[in-house]
C-alpha cells in the first residue's frame, strides 16, 4: 500500500463502502507496519468511527483512541467546491469531537466542545456537513481532552477546483506525530509538580567545565548563575521530550521507518503535517533540496530550502526530485531528544542512512528579551543574531565577529529600536471609526481563499503599519514569570537551533503568497496580546491570564483587525485562530502569506491581519496541547 495515492483511490473507495472498524495493532510486525500508511478516504460522504484500539509503538502494548481503527486517522481527500458530509460515531465511554483544522466553515461545524457545539456523546453519531471552499493540505483532530495526543488526528487533502498547482508525478502525506505510553493527564500532572520533569538536559556541573565557545569556566559560571537567578533554564526547549515520546511518521516509529516509493526522475510532492501534540520538528531530506510550494494550505512562491521548522499544527507542501536509490525524511524534534523518520526509496528493499541529530539548542538571554550588562543594544536587531552571538559567545567578544546573513538584512534594516517596548492590550480602546463596508463586500462573506481567479475586495485606508506601542502594563506574578524588555520581529530567524547550521533553512520572511490577499482593507483596530507563562508552575496564558480568568475577545462582524502577538515567555508558541485566516505581516504587502497557525518565538513581536468574515464563537489558542490545557486559550467572538 506504499504506492502513490492515485493508484489506490479505487481500493480505498471500496474500503470506504465497507466502512467498519479495521482492527490491527501497528506493532505486530515490521512487515505489517510498513504496509500501514493511514488509509485514504475519498468522496463526499464519510463515516468515521471513534473507538479504542490496542497499539504498540514503543514495544509496550497500549490503548489508543482511533478513527476507523487507524492511528493516525485516515487521510480524507476532498474536492474544492463540493459539500462534504462526515458522520462521526463515538464508541468511546467519554465525549469526543473532531475539529477541522484550518477549515473555513460555519462555527457550528468547527467541532470545539463548549464553544460551537456540545461534543459527541458516547454512542452518538454527529453529522458534520459543510461546503469546501478552499484547497490545500489541512488536518483534523479531536478537541476533547487529550484525545489529540492519544490518536485522533489525521490529514486532509483538498484538490483545487481547477488544476492550478504544479504537476507532480506522485504525492505522499507525511503526517508527523508524537506518541506516548504515558497517560497525558499524568504528563500534565507531573509538569505541575515539576516543570522540568521531562527535561534530562538541564544545566549541571559538567556543563560548567567550560563555555561551548570560549571554553572559559568563568563565562559558563556567569551564564549558569544568570539563569539560576531567574529560576529558569536555558535548556527549556520542549516541555515534553523524547524521554516519553516516540515520534511517528505516518504512524510508524523511527525504528522501522515509514517507506514511500518513487521512480527515479519523478517529481514527488510531500504534504507534511505536524499533527503532534507538543513537538516542533526540523525537517530535512539529506541529499535533496525541497521546493516549498504551500504553507498551511495556501500556495506560496516556490522557495528552495534544505530544511524547515514545522510548528505543531502547521502544514507545508514541498516538491522534491529524488534521483538516487533512497533518502531519509529526517524530522528531528526541536529539543533533539528524538526524531521521526521516513524513507523515500526506489524499492521496498532499499534503506537509507539516518543522519545524526544536531546539537541541542540552548536558549539565550536574547530569547528572554533581557537586557544585559555591557551588551550594546544594536545587537538586538530582532533577527535572532543575538541568539547565537550574545550569550553563547560570552558577551562582547562573541559579537564582534557576527555576520549578517543576506536573508535577514531587510527585517533588521527596518527595525526601529525606539519602538522596542511593549504594551498590553488592556487598553484596547485604539478604535479608529470602522470604515463603511461596501454592500458588495458583505455579499462575498466569507471571503474566498486567495487564488488565480480571485479578485481582491475592499480598498485600503490610510492606517499604516502597526500603531506605536507603549510600555507593558503586565506585572510579574504567579502567571507571569518574565516580561521581555526587548522584543522585535524575528521573521527571518529560522529559530533556535537552526541558525548558521550551514543549511538553507526556511524562515517566515521567505513565505510570499502566490496569489494576492483577498481583503485589501487596512485594519481599523489593533489588538495586542502578550503570550505569558510561568514554567515553574506550568501556568500559561495571554496577557497574564488563563482562559478561565479572561473575557472573550470580541470582533465586529465585517471588521478587519491587526493582532499583534508579543511573546514574553522563553518558548515558541504555535498560535492558532480557528475559522478565520491569519495573514502574517512579513513585509510582502498584498502577498503576505495566509496561515492558520503562527509560531511566535521567544521575545518576538509579530503581527497579522484578520478579517472577521464568519460569525460565531471561535477557539484561539496555543497548539501545544498542554499549554492550551494550562490556560493559553481564548474565545474569539465574531458578532
Amino acid at each position: 500500500m506504499h504506492t502513490s495515492n492515485c493508484l489506490t483511490r479505487r481500493h480505498f473507495m471500496q474500503s470506504l463502502i465497507a466502512a467498519g472498524i479495521v482492527t490491527w495493532a501497528p506493532g505486530q510486525g515490521a512487515a505489517q507496519m510498513l504496509s500501514q500508511s493511514p488509509k485514504i478516504l475519498e468522496g463526499t460522504t464519510f463515516d468515521l468511527t471513534i473507538d479504542k484500539l490496542s497499539v504498540n509503538f514503543s514495544g509496550k502494548p497500549r490503548t489508543a483512541v482511533a478513527v476507523n481503527g487507524s492511528v493516525p486517522a485516515p487521510t480524507l481527500r476532498w474536492r474544492e467546491g463540493e459539500t462534504v458530509t462526515i458522520n462521526v460515531t463515538n464508541r468511546l465511554k467519554t465525549n469526543t469531537s473532531i475539529h477541522w483544522h484550518g477549515m473555513r466553515i460555519p462555527t457550528d461545524m468547527d467541532g470545539v466542545p463548549g464553544l460551537s457545539f456540545e461534543g459527541i456523546r458516547p454512542g452518538e453519531t454527529f453529522t458534520y456537513r459543510f461546503p469546501v471552499r478552499q484547497n490545500g493540505t489541512f488536518w483534523y483532530h479531536s478537541h476533547s481532552g487529550y484525545q489529540e495526543q492519544t490518536g485522533i488526528s489525521g490529514a486532509i487533502i483538498i484538490e483545487p477546483q481547477t488544476a492550478e498547482s504544479e504537476a507532480v508525478d506522485r504525492e505522499y502525506v507525511i503526517f508527523l506525530s508524537d506518541w506516548t505510553d504515558v497517560d497525558p493527564h499524568t504528563i500534565l500532572s507531573n509538569l505541575k509538580e515539576d516543570g522540568s520533569y521531562y527535561n534530562y538536559h538541564r544545566p549541571a556541573l559538567n556543563h560548567l567545565s567550560g563555555d561551548p565557545q570560549t571554553k572559559k569556566f568563568s563565562t559558563a559560571l556567569a551564564q549558569y548563575l544568570m539563569w539560576s537567578k531567574m529560576n529558569m533554564s536555558p535548556t527549556d526547549i520542549a516541555d515534553v521530550s523524547g524521554s516519553v515520546y516516540t515520534y511517528l511518521c505516518n504512524g510508524v516509529p523511527p525504528s522501522l521507518g515509514w517507506k514511500g516509493l518513487f521512480e527515479p526522475g519523478e517529481k514527488v510532492k510531500l504534504r507534511i503535517v505536524n499533527g503532534s501534540a507538543m513537538t516542533f520538528f526540523d525537517v530535512r531530506i539529506p541529499g535533496l533540496q525541497m521546493k516549498v510550494v504551500a504553507a498551511d494550505g495556501n500556495a506560496v512562491e516556490p522557495v528552495m530550502v534544505d530544511e524547515f521548522r514545522i510548528g505543531t499544527a502547521e502544514t507545508y507542501d514541498v516538491i522534491v526530485s529524488p534521483e538516487n536509490m533512497s533518502y531519509v525524511i529526517f524530522a528531528q524534534a526541536e529539543d533533539r531528544t528524538g526524531y521521526a523518520k521516513g524513507i523515500l526509496a526506489t524499492s521496498a528493499n532499499n534503506e537509507a542512512k539516518t543522519p545524526t541529530m544536531d546539537p541541542r539548542p540552548i536558549r539565550t538571554m536574547a530569547d528572554m528579551g533581557m537586557k544585559m550588562k555591557g551588551m550594546a543594544m544594536p545587537a538586538m536587531s530582532g533577527d535572532g543574531k543575538m541568539n547565537m552571538s550574545g550569550m553563547q559567545g560570552g558577551g562582547m567578544e562573541g559579537m564582534s565577529n557576527m555576520d549578517m546573513p543576506a536573508n535577514t538584512a531587510h527585517v533588521a534594516a527596518g527595525h526601529d529600536t525606539s519602538s522596542m517596548t511593549v504594551r498590553s492590550d488592556s487598553a484596547m480602546n485604539m478604535h479608529v471609526p470602522p470604515e463603511e463596508v461596501a454592500r458588495t463586500m458583505w455579499d462575498q462573506f466569507p471571503l474566498p481563499q486567495p487564488g488565480r481567479d480571485v479578485l481582491p475586495v475592499g480598498t485600503p485606508t490610510s492606517v499604516p503599519s502597526p500603531l506605536p506601542h507603549l510600555a507593558s502594563v503586565l506585572k510579574v506574578g504567579p502567571e507571569v514569570s518574565g516580561i521581555a524588555v526587548i522584543t522585535g520581529p524575528k521573521l527571518s530567524d529560522p529559530g533556535v537551533g537552526l541558525q548558521h547550521n550551514g543549511r538553507r533553512v526556511l524562515a517566515y520572511s521567505d513565505l510570499k503568497a502566490r496569489y494576492p490577499g483577498v481583503d485589501r482593507r487596512s485594519p481599523t483596530r489593533e489588538i495586542e496580546l502578550h503570550l505569558t507563562g510561568n514554567m515553574e508552575r506550568f501556568i500559561w496564558g495571554f496577557d497574564g491570564k488563563k482562559f478561565s480568568q479572561a473575557q472573550p475577545i470580541t470582533l465586529r462582524y465585517g471588521e478587519r483587525v491587526r493582532i499583534i502577538l508579543v511573546n514574553d515567555t522563553m518558548m515558541e508558541h504555535p498560535i492558532h485562530l480557528h475559522g478565520l485566516w491569519s495573514e502574517l505581516e512579513n513585509g510582502n504587502g498584498s502577498f503576505n502569506p495566509y496561515k492558520h497557525t503562527l509560531i511566535v518565538k521567544p521575545a518576538e513581536r509579530l503581527s497579522y491581519l484578520v478579517s472577521a468574515d464568519v460569525k460565531g464563537h471561535w477557539a484561539y489558542h496555543c497548539h501545544l496541547m498542554f499549554h492550551m490545557e494550562a490556560g493559553m486559550f481564548r474565545t474569539v467572538v465574531v458578532a
Binding site: L188, S189, N190, K192, E193, D194, Y197, Y200, H201, R202, P203, A204, L205, N206, L225, S228, K229, M230, N231, K475, V476, G477, P478, V480, S481, N534, E536, R537, I539, K546, F547, S548, M628, E629, A630, G631, F633
Partner: protein, 213 residues
C-alpha cells in the same frame, strides 16, 4: 479546563540515620491537592528511635500563590505537634517557594492561643552534578519565644537539622540517596535534652530514598 485539580505527595526524606548513639528513622514530606490557585497542603515530619517518636510535626495548610510574586505561595493553617511528648497545637502562617538562584525557602510563623510564638525556616538547594545525580544541602531551624520543658524546647534558637544528601534519580519519582546530617539543640533546649540523657549534638550517616507520586 485550566482549573483541573491535581495532587502529589513528596517524601523528601525517608531515611535511616546511623550515629554513635544508635539508629533512628526519619521522615519529612509534604502533599498537596488542588488547582493552580487553591491548594490544600499537608506537611509531615518526625523521628522514631527506640520506639519513641520525637519532633512530630503535622501541618494542614491552605496555599495560594502570592500576587506579584512569581514563585512564592502563602500558606495558612494549623500545626499539630504529635509524638511521644505532650501534644501542642499552633496556628501557622508561612511562605513557601523558590528564591532567586533556585534556592528553596520556606519560613513559617506559629502562634499558640497562650501567646507563645515559634518560627521555622527551611531551606534547600539542589545542585545538579549530572542529570540524575543531585547534591542537596538542606537546613531546618526552629525558634521558640518561651521554654516548653515538656517538649524539650527552649527559647531562642532551639534546634537545627542540617544535612547534605547525594541522590541518584533512577527516575524522577524514585531517588535513593546517602548523606551526612548534623542535628543539634541549643540553649535551654540543649539543657532539657541533656536532662533526658539524649545527645545534644548528633552527626549521622543517612541513607534513604526520596519518592513522590
Amino acid at each position: 479546563m485550566d482549573n483541573e485539580p491535581f495532587a502529589h505527595v513528596l517524601l523528601d526524606q525517608l531515611e535511616g540515620r546511623a550515629s554513635a548513639t544508635g539508629t533512628q528513622f526519619k521522615w519529612d514530606g509534604e502533599a498537596w491537592a488542588g488547582t493552580d490557585f487553591n491548594r490544600f497542603w499537608v506537611k509531615s515530619e518526625g523521628n522514631i528511635a527506640r520506639s519513641s517518636m520525637s519532633d512530630g510535626d503535622q501541618e494542614f495548610l491552605y496555599d495560594r500563590p502570592i500576587p506579584r510574586m512569581r514563585y512564592f505561595d502563602a500558606q495558612i493553617g494549623v500545626r499539630a505537634d504529635l509524638d511521644s511528648d505532650p501534644t501542642r497545637a499552633w496556628a501557622a502562617i508561612g511562605l513557601e517557594g523558590l528564591a532567586p538562584y533556585e534556592f528553596e525557602f520556606a519560613p513559617t510563623l506559629y502562634i499558640r492561643n497562650d501567646g507563645r510564638v515559634a518560627g521555622r525556616i527551611e531551606g534547600a538547594y539542589s545542585f545538579r552534578v549530572r542529570q540524575r545525580l543531585v547534591l542537596e544541602p538542606q537546613i531546618e531551624l526552629n525558634f521558640y519565644s518561651k521554654d516548653d520543658k515538656a517538649r524539650k524546647v527552649g527559647s531562642g534558637l532551639s534546634d537545627l537539622d542540617g544535612g547534605i544528601r547525594l541522590r541518584y534519580e533512577i527516575n524522577r519519582k524514585f531517588a535513593p540517596y546517602i548523606g551526612y546530617v548534623y542535628s543539634g539543640s541549643y540553649g535551654s533546649s540543649a539543657a532539657f535534652t541533656r536532662a533526658t540523657g539524649d545527645a545534644t549534638h548528633t552527626s549521622s550517616f543517612v541513607f534513604g530514598v526520596r519518592v513522590w507520586r
